[in-house]
């Protein structure tokens, strides 16, 4: 027990990096995903194709490979990022692709009649999307978004490969230093608490946004 109390400050410090990667990725990738999905359902064929290609590339290759690519390959074309920036770029681009597909499915599940009603009431594209379509999409996509968000908590551990001192690497360092596997268990607990909190948050959101179809 003493040992656990002793390692907790270090592990919390590692958690800060993990939390930063998590929150910044969420805050940036969701709006980017919304924009991409709007392009994906737009009537501009070229835009649809380009975004389709983007989604295919980013979902079709391992996130770890993308991390390596951003960190090691981009300097070859003159883009040099430190480990934290590289991690964020890879995570945001990758998660935006997943969110794009989730939002696309959501937008396409809103019946055509909703667009027509909005149009006969004189609403333009932005008003229709902002006031009528996206609020309905929001409720529909909460479960898959919740899923992705929980996956992201665990995916943050991939920054390990860029030698960043996140929760995972801190844990591994402690295990190697002390020849004790207890830090692994504590780390598991950390991840579990984070995902539990997120699960509870999304359950509340789902409840709140389902009020109109009970």
């Amino acid at each position: 027990m003493d040992y656990i109390i002793r390692i907790i400050p270090q592990m919390l410090e590692g958690s800060i990096v993990t939390a930063q990667v998590f929150f910044i990725t969420i805050v940036l990738s969701i709006p980017l995903g919304v924009l991409l999905s709007l392009g994906r359902v737009s009537s501009i064929a070229l835009l649809q194709k380009v975004i389709g290609l983007y989604v295919w590339l980013l979902r079709g290759t391992p996130l770890m490979l993308q991390l390596f690519f951003v960190y090691y390959a981009l300097p070859a074309v003159g883009i040099r990022l430190d480990d934290f920036e590289a991690a964020l770029v890879a995570f945001v681009l990758n998660y935006a692709a997943y969110f794009c597909e989730i939002f696309r499915a959501g937008i396409q599940s809103v019946p055509q009649g909703q667009y027509e009603a909005a149009r006969t009431l004189g609403m333009d594209y932005v008003q229709t999307m902002r006031r009528i379509v996206l609020p309905q999409v929001f409720r529909l996509i909460l479960p898959p978004v919740s899923n992705e968000t929980i996956t992201l908590v665990k995916d943050t551990s991939l920054v390990y490969v860029l030698a960043m001192n996140d929760l995972m690497r801190t844990t591994r360092n402690l295990v190697q230093r002390d020849f004790d596997i207890t830090p692994f268990l504590v780390a598991a607990l950390f991840y579990l608490v984070a995902t539990l909190l997120l699960t509870m948050l999304f359950e509340r959101l789902e409840k709140r946004f389902s009020r109109y179809d009970q």
Partner: protein, 253 residues
Amino acid sequence: MMNKIEARNICKQFQNLEVLKGIDLEVAEGEVVAVIGPSGGGKSTLLRCLNKLETIDRGSIVIDGETLVKDTSSGVEYAPEKDSRRIACKMGMVFQQFNLFPHMTVLENLIEAPVQVQKRNKEEVIREAEALLAKVGLLDKRDVYPRKLSGGQQQRVAIARALAMKPSIMLFDEPTSSLDPELTGEVLKTMRELAEEKMTMVVVTHEMGFAREVATKVVFMADGHVQAQGTPQEIFENPSNERLKAFLNVILK
């Protein structure tokens, strides 16, 4: 008197299917026009062309003196997007499937467009919306979400929502076709009251009773043509057109 709607030679094709083959439609102020005819005859398409839910291939449409679309030698030319949206929303539209916004309460459904599109004062719009809900007999449902309402109630809300925009014309696209028979009465009653207030209306309908009793003009469409039009008396009592006779024989037997 100026016509509220003047549509000339409307042609509309879906892929290889010619749905409208040169339709003329004139609607004068205060007129209630019932458009009847067999399914697939182009009735709903005609209505949807009037407010640009469908674009036409040939012809011209003038709404309330403003040109929505005109014919030129090189095809049709629509008013710029902003203008055509404004012209189109002079016409309130009521759909077969109601199309209420499910994430908004009844009151929110009514005030959404007047506040967001017409930028009118919210308090004033709410007062008017409440008056409209009282008129369609649903004021007690103002804070309820649409899913809690019966089909007939939803359709009455949809009518009130269209009226909240203060349209000068109302279009009804088979407003009772997806309702259980016992619920059509309440919707028809609301429409009848509107007609009595001299609202200009175009109603695509299978309700022959409504067409006969409320309409001032009946238009019979089949195969993409207007086959016959006239007063309800001319259409129902003394039909001269053979297609119309056959249609009435089946539907009124």
